[in-house]
Amino acid sequence: MTIYVFDGTMDGLLTAVFDAFALHEQPQQLLMKGDALPLFCDHTYQVTADEEKARRVWAGLEKRLSREALRLISVSWLSELRELNQPLFHYLCKVFRQGDIARNFADPDVLAVTNIARRVMHEQLRMKQFIRFQKAKDGTYLAVVAPDHNVLPLITDHFQDRFNDQPWLIYDAKRHYGYYHDGKSVIRITFEDEAAVPFNLTNGKMNADVLSENDRLFQDLWRTYFKAICIKERMNPRKQLSDMPRRYWKYMTEKN
């Protein structure tokens, strides 16, 4: 049994595809560095990520797949799930053998990649729904999130388009980076000393000394509204939880 081991980067995975064809072999498994090797493996091959090889593989994919399918692959990569590596690797190899199979959902690898991409898309929508900004004294709007998948790159366009006249910062507390919009463009930022930021990373609350004057009032108004709009005779906490899972609540104004 042949096993490829790669470094966990997209370039590494694309290089693995390249090498599989260069060496005329089809490895049964693609593992990430640090994964436990299975029993009875007689041949392992270390993939060294190579930008040039990766670029060539991607160019090959661009020739064979629709833009929609390529986007789906990029999106699935943002899931940061280990279980994506294997099906994605096999999927890409098959594209070079069989052509455009992106819509063959009976293929287990295509289906797995598609389903993971769909999960990522679902979560980016949830970020658009559930992000809550607080306004700082200097006029910056801040939101802290901790999504399961790395979805911030997918939502910056939406927020830039919508709030183009206000400076905002969306910060991913789990991945320790964020996007800042200064009124013109969006830049990716990280904090050198995360402990010194003027907001709480575990509940997203801004420190009282930097919070703008009437922000608390609007938060209270929102909570009041949230309570008032509910029809008591129709209580349905199960539906609420399925549409708004509890893991998102900690950063949401109306639930804190």
């Binding site: 959902f105 559930f130 939406h158 919508r162 209270d220 709009i229 129709r234 949401m252």
Partner: protein, 429 residues
């Protein structure tokens, strides 16, 4: 300036507005503009939160005032009700909308109002707020305006330039019932503004064909709502009304609102322990069949089945009445036929149509794709299910509908349906 008093007003006016179920921010795509705040995303819109009753919160749904000169029996805000009354000032409402929007709490504003003085006066005030939001606050998000029955065409035409969606509620599908509960209203007063809005939209389309820069008029179309369970209408009456409305070019959504016993003292109304939620759910399912599954209203309800089956969903009910339409061969049937299979939705039908070009599909593939095989397996043939070596097919035609039905109805569904049927009994005189 906003104060504690504003909070109390917001609470009162949200509680007055909450029985209006329409909430969606769908139907129009409008990119952000320089110097303006906001955008609309189209598609199904964005729900920003979900209240404890499970309903989505997309727009700030609020009334400008809950004082009302009408006395409609089903309405919480009827003039003879002794409830707290309030009126938001224009600046209060605009501030709340803008500040909520900038914090990503909402997609926009859904503004409604009780009728004070006369329809024109009320509509004028609603229009003024929409105009202010667009021109003074440079608000580019979603605005849904209720149009007040009986207001002038000029006002509707102006409001339509600022609103994304406008709505007039039918509330009661049959006119004689409406007149019984709301003597001051009739169907004419509802259909008239609907017609005017539609006229405006169609004229605007024509104008835009000639001049590209003509501003859009009610780009997200109209919606309306019917109350379910407050009067004696059958589901057939309700769905025929919906189907007729969807035939109109600008009607996008019909909402169904299970009647919540708000005015228990009124003898014209039934007393319900809880709103008819199962029935409401079945109506929405039927509505979906009309809009996305190519069903006709006569197929869902007819003379013998004037009401929807509470125990099974309307598609399954149809399938059980029409065993001759099955089995459907997954590998050859066209998209419309696939949509009629219980357990298959638009998404799985799309997956099937795409995948079968690459090879024959088996029940294993279907299961992996997310088809509800528990239901679907009685209505389909596919790959191995047709082979001679597999187990004999047990489908709807072998079992007969009357023996299949109990296999597909769970105890919990039966119980819920039975509870609701009991509620209905009190209604018969």
């Amino acid at each position: 300036m906003l104060t504690e008093k504003t909070m109390e007003k917001l609470r009162i006016l949200a509680e007055s507005a909450k029985y209006d179920v329409s909430c969606s921010s769908s139907g129009t795509v409008r990119k952000g503009k320089q110097g303006m705040v906001g955008s609309t995303v189209g598609g199904v819109g964005i729900c920003h939160s979900f209240a404890d009753d499970g309903r989505c919160i997309s727009l700030l749904k609020v009334m400008l005032t809950n004082y009302c000169m009408y006395d409609c029996a089903y309405c919480i805000n009827r003039r003879s009700n002794d409830i707290k009354r309030a009126t938001l000032s224009v600046s209060e409402l605009e501030d709340i909308t803008m500040e909520f929007y900038r914090r990503n709490y909402i997609e926009g504003l859904f503004l409604s109002s009780g009728v004070v003085r006369n329809p024109d006066y009320t509509m004028e005030r609603l229009t003024a707020i929409a105009r202010d939001l667009r021109t003074v606050h440079r608000f580019n998000g979603y605005i849904h305006l209720k149009s007040i029955p009986g207001c002038s065409q000029e006002l509707l035409n102006e409001a339509g330039r600022y609103a994304d969606r406008m709505s007039v509620n039918i509330e009661i599908p049959r006119e004689e019932s409406l007149k019984l509960l709301a003597p001051e209203k009739d169907h004419q007063s509802v259909f008239q503004p609907m017609k005017l809005i539609q006229q405006g939209v169609l004229e605007n389309k024509e104008d835009r064909r000639r001049y590209r820069h003509v501003p859009r008029f009610v780009p997200a179309g109209q919606s309306t709502q019917m109350i379910v369970g407050a009067t004696k209408e059958s589901d057939r009456d309700i769905l025929q009304m919906s189907s007729m409305l969807y035939g109109q070019p600008t009607m996008r959504r019909v909402y169904y609102s299970g009647y919540v016993s708000v005015n228990t003292y009124d003898p014209r109304l039934p007393i319900l322990k809880q709103p008819p939620l199962v029935r409401e759910n079945r109506l929405y399912q039927a509505d979906w069949l009309l809009r996305f599954y190519h069903f006709k209203v006569e197929e869902i309800v007819d003379d013998q089945h004037a009401n929807l089956d509470l125990e099974v969903d309307p598609k399954l009910a149809w399938a059980l009445r029409h065993p001759e339409a099955f089995p459907v061969d997954i590998n050859t049937a066209d998209y419309e036929q696939l949509l009629r299979v219980p357990g298959l939705g638009t998404k799985s039908a799309w997956l099937i149509v795409n995948s079968r070009r690459f090879g024959r599909l088996t029940s294993y593939d279907l299961k992996k794709m997310g088809v509800v095989m528990k239901k679907a397996k009685y209505f389909i043939t596919c790959g191995e299910l047709t082979s001679l070596f597999s187990q004999p097919i047990v489908g709807i035609n072998e079992l007969r509908p009357e023996r299949l039905r109990p296999l597909l109805v769970s105890k919990a569904q039966q119980k819920r349906a039975a509870e609701e049927r009991q509620l209905k009994l009190e209604f018969e005189e």
